[in-house]
Structure formats: C-alpha cells, structure tokens
C-alpha cells in the first residue's frame, strides 16, 4: 500500500512540473533618447501566407510607439504581405500583395477609408506590388502583369494597362510611367524589360530592354530613370544597375560592378544597398545622380553593422537616413536612423516582421497660437473643401 502512495506522490509531482508555463515573451523595445520631430509609420510585410502584416506608429516627440497601429485603429489585421505604401494627399495607400487589396487609410487617424479589392473578372488575385502617384491618380503594379490606375476621389480602379510579366517597382518621369517587368514568378525564365506607359493616354508606348529580373525603378530631377535588376540572385548573374534616359527611352548607362539590390532617391542622391542572399554580405552606398558617381563607398562611417538591409529612405523633416533591417527573414526587424554623415543616431528594434517601408509625417507646429487663430478665422467663413493632391504631406 505504501508503494502505491509513493507512486501517486511521484505522479502528482510530475504533473505539477508539467503545467503550461509557456508565456508570451514581452518585447522590450527601447525608445530612442535622440529627439527628432514628426511621426513615422513603418510597414512590415510579415511572412507570406501567414497573414501577419503590420503597421507600426511612432511619435518622435511624444515617444509613443504602437506596434500594431492598424489593428488597434481598425479592429482587424492589415492582411497578407503588405508590400508597399505611399502617402498622397491626406491618405496612405497600402498594397497588400497576397490579400490582393489596396488599403486606403487616413494618414492622420490611421482609420481605414476604403479597402479596394484588386481581382480580375475570374476572381483571381492580381497581387498588388508597388505604388506611385501623380495628378489625382495612384498607380499600382500588379504581379498579374497589369498596371492599375486608382482615382483618388472615387477610390475606384478607373484604368488598367497590360505591361510585362510580374511588374515590380514603378516611377514617373517626363509624363510617363516606368514599370519594371521582373518575370520573377517564372524563375529562372525572367523578364528583362521596363514598360513605358503614357500618363495621358494610359497606353504602353514601348518596352525598354534592361538587365534580367528588374526590380526597382526611380527617377531623378533630370529625367533619368535608374533601374536595379536582381539577375538570378547568384554570382553567375549578379544584380545590376542601369540608367534610362526618359527623353529617348533607352538605356544610356550600365554601372558595371555596382550590384544594387534596392535603392531610393532623395534630392538627387541615391541611397543604395546590396544584399547577397548566398554569402549574407551587404553594403550601403550613396550615389550622385548629377555626376553619376558614387559619393560614399561605405555610407555607414561609425562601424554600425546592418545585418540584412531591407529598405532605405530619407526622412524629409530631419534629413536623416532610415534603414530597415530584417534580423532574419522570419524574425522581427528594426529601424536604424543615420545622419547624412553615416553615423547611427538611434535604432528601434523589433518593430515588425520584415519592415519594408517607412512614411514620415510632418511635424506638428509646436505650441503655435496663430494656428488656433487661423482656425477660428477659417470657421467664420464657410469652409470650402479643395482637394489638393499635389501636396504630398498632410498637415497633422
């Protein structure tokens, strides 16, 4: 009998040890000491088919960080693989690739204004990828081969042009839209063209032959369109960087040995990086669009290491360069802020899973009594709403 009691005691002890003691790990996100102005929204794509894209909000002045801003404001998630977002007027447009939606949110409040489904007549997902805007229209590249036009007043799709295979990045120069046709879904049989679409007629004018698997295109102030192409991601066919002249629509320069994966342009300076998926190596450089020469071979000057850069952007309100980093493609990544001299100012870690785009919102004029006066003055008149799509920054 005593033996039995022993067994029961041992079993009880084991059961006690085996309770569910697995608690959620709390993120410990250190907020930057470094003060700056304005706010930023950070889009994180999450993981494909895991439906976990997020939008994070950070107020630099109040030091308020909301990791799941979209979820908090709208009571639902952003969807699957949010790939790109742009700010136009007072609205933010987010291309959600796998969910095949364009989420339109109010830049001031974060609330969804409209969710535009992007499907073809057979209910197949067009898979939105990247966005740009001009003259009251938002342009959207879709993996199904189309360039889709959205009217910003009706928030409806009002036009579509067939481009090449699996379009990725797009930009506007000289009243024309340049769309990089990657053919990435047909790996290894990639596309190697950039479609040129006329803004007015919304018809494809021509296809310019570029390097294999073009990815991002951005234009400078002189009408040059820069193209980064990803090749087949191996040493046999490395990334390439080319320049198109939008007046003659031809590739006029091939930057040999400049293996750019991703870049952005601000004030005719290109912030570019390379990341090698095989060796895990990367570099970040700056490039002058006017002299067509590298400014800094190593943008980062203080020895800071960025593990896996995922995007690079400039904050127009503080002039600093913000680089997003994915620590591993399946774990939360960071935002790192560098000054123009390439010195780390601050970083915010674990902001989201694969952060890929930041939108900077204009700082609020701090304690400005005239603003109140203006408001009172404005109210004494009948306030007239005038859409001003050319202003790309909302007043918050």
């Amino acid at each position: 009998m005593r033996e039995k009691q022993h067994i029961i005691l041992v079993l009880m002890a084991l059961l006690c040890f085996s309770c569910n003691d697995m608690a959620d790990v709390e993120k410990e996100i250190k907020l930057p000491e470094h003060p700056t102005t304005g706010k930023m929204l950070v889009l994180s794509e999450g993981l494909m088919n895991l439906n976990n894209s997020t939008l994070a909000y950070y107020d630099f002045v109040e030091k308020e960080l909301i990791i799941d801003y979209f979820l908090q404001k709208n009571g639902r998630g952003l969807g699957d693989t949010a790939n790109d977002m742009i700010l136009y007027g007072s609205k933010i447009y987010i291309a959600v690739n796998v969910s095949s939606q364009v989420e339109v949110i109010d830049a001031n409040t974060g609330s969804s204004v409209k969710r535009i489904p992007v499907f073809d007549e057979n209910e197949r997902a067009r898979q939105p990828r990247y966005l740009t805007y001009k003259d009251g229209k938002v342009y959207l590249s879709c993996f199904d081969g189309n360039l889709v036009r959205i009217d910003t007043l009706s928030l409806e799709i009002d036009g579509m042009v067939k481009c090449g295979r699996n379009p990725e990045g797009l930009c506007i120069a000289n009243e024309k839209i340049y769309v990089a046709n990657s053919g990435g879904l047909d790996n290894p049989n990639y596309d190697n063209t950039v479609s040129v679409v006329d803004l007015k007629t919304f018809k494809e004018l021509k296809k310019i032959k570029v390097a294999e698997n073009p990815y991002k295109v951005f234009a400078d102030s002189q009408g040059d369109v820069y193209v980064s192409s990803r090749g087949n991601y191996s040493t046999s066919q490395p990334y390439r960087f080319q320049r198109i002249d939008s007046y003659i629509d031809k590739v006029i320069q091939d930057f040999d040995g400049l293996n750019v994966l991703n870049f952005s342009i601000h004030d005719d300076i290109i912030y570019m990086y390379s990341y090698d998926f095989n060796s895990d190596n990367n570099w970040i450089k700056t490039f002058d669009c006017l002299s067509e020469k590298i400014i800094a071979e190593n943008f980062i000057t203080d020895g800071t290491k960025v593990e896996k850069p995922y995007s690079v952007q400039v904050n127009p309100y503080d002039g600093n360069i913000y680089i997003t980093n994915t620590s591993d493609f399946s774990m939360t990544g960071d935002v790192l802020c560098f000054n123009p001299d390439g010195e780390l100012q601050f970083s915010i870690n674990d902001i989201g899973l694969n952060p890929n785009k930041i939108i900077f919102l204009k700082p609020v004029p701090y304690k400005c009594p005239t603003a109140t006066l203006l408001l009172i003055f404005g109210l004494s008149h009948i306030p007239q709403y005038a859409p001003s799509p050319s202003i790309s920054v909302p007043c918050i």
Binding site: V10, L11, L14, S18, D24, L47, M331, T332, L353
Partner: protein, 225 residues
C-alpha cells in the same frame, strides 16, 4: 541518434529544401512503468512515466511557411528538448460483461531553440510545438452496446519563430463520442456505429488561420462474415 533528411524532406515539391543538413540528436530517457492485472475489480492497470532530455543539432522542423498544404523543412541549429510523458490506462470490471476503460496521456515539452545566444529567438519554444498536450479516453463496454469518449487537447503554440503575442495560436480541446452496437445474425455480424466528432463545436485551429470543421455526425454500418 542520427536522422538523415528523407527524400520528401529534400525534394517534395514546395516542401523540400535541398540545403537540409542531417539531424543529429543526443537523447537521454528515464522511465518507470507500473502494471497491475486482475486485482480486486481492476482488470488491468498501466501507468508509465518518462522524462527525457534531447539535444538535437540541425533539427529538421516542418513549418507551414506558405499554407496548410505547403509546409517547408528547415534546420534549427540546436534545439534542446526537455520533456515529461505520462500515461495511464485502466480497465475496470463491473460485471461479467460490463467493463469500464479509462486512459490518458500528458506531455510536457520544453523544445527550445538554443542555436545562437545573440539570436532573437534564443530560448523560445520552436514553432507549432505546444508546451503541454495530452489525450483522454473513457469507454463503457456492455453486452448490448459500447460507448466511447475520446479527447485530445493541446496548449497554445506559436506560428512563427518568436514567442510573441501576435504569433500565438491558441490551444484547443477536441471531444468525440461514439456509440456502437453489434447485432449477431446467423452467419455474420452487423456492426452499427454512431459518432459525434468535435462535440463542443469549436472551430479550433491546428494551423493558424485554418479553422477545423465544427461538430459533425458520422454513422457507419459494417458487415462481418
């Protein structure tokens, strides 16, 4: 113990990962078993308890990166698993033809990623592995009919590498009940079986965003010659 990646692990469409390395494990196991037969009204009793400590290098983990149909295999550099398995089975005899059987299992498992102390998931439980899980069953066998109840349950799990709240997949319990009766006819036996699956009608998720079907009924009739 050493496990080579299988053909499926390596090459199965969408799942395979040609860069997979073989899995290499050190396993320590300590167990105790207690059995009892034909004592008092206890027909049979079996209690087992096992504690184990496994260190797995390059653990091959199946992981639904795409969707429920397209899992992928990845190597985890180093996974440390400490676990306890408990099980009990008993059959009680009430009369000559009436028996009650009960049983259950309980598993406690700390399967932690111990690859790189600098990594952001160091010490986190690996995806889709609950800390606790188990099952239970009970049955009544009579001369006229049999009733069986089964239950499986799992604690919460995490859908991706980090044990953050947003990656949490809630735990679940699934109950099923069945009633069976045999009709002996001249040369053959007719068995009728009625089941209620997922009795609680909860659309729980085994894989995130793929809710399981709710309550279902199933009736089977079989003939034995």
């Amino acid at each position: 113990m050493f496990r080579l990646p299988t053909f499926n692990d390596l090459y199965y469409t969408q799942i395979g990962n040609r860069k997979l390395k073989p899995e290499d494990a050190n396993q320590f196991n300590l167990g105790a078993t207690y059995t009892l037969t034909n004592k008092y009204f206890i027909d049979f009793l079996l209690i087992t308890a096992d504690a184990y400590h496994n260190k797995v290098k390059n653990k091959i983990v199946a992981y639904p990166t795409k969707n429920i149909f397209e899992w992928t295999m990845i190597n985890y550099g180093m996974v440390e698993i400490n676990g306890i398995d408990l099980s009990a089975d008993a059959i009680f005899k009430l009369s000559k033809n009436t028996k009650i059987s009960v049983g259950g299992t309980h598993t406690y498992q700390r399967a932690l990623n111990k690859t790189d102390p600098e990594s952001r998931n160091y010490g986190h439980q690996i995806p889709y592995t609950p800390r606790v899980s188990g099952s239970g069953k009970a049955g009544l066998q009579t001369a006229w009919f049999n009733v069986n109840y089964t239950m499986i349950w799992s604690g919460h799990r995490y859908a991706v590498n980090q044990n953050f709240r947003e990656n949490r997949v809630e735990g679940f319990v699934d109950h099923s009940l069945s009633l069976a009766k045999d009709f002996s006819l001249k040369t053959y036996t007719l068995s009728a079986n009625a089941e209620v699956l997922n009795l609680a009608n909860k659309n729980y998720e085994v894989v995130r965003y793929f809710p399981m079907p709710g309550r279902a009924f199933r009736a089977t009739i079989s003939l034995k010659f």
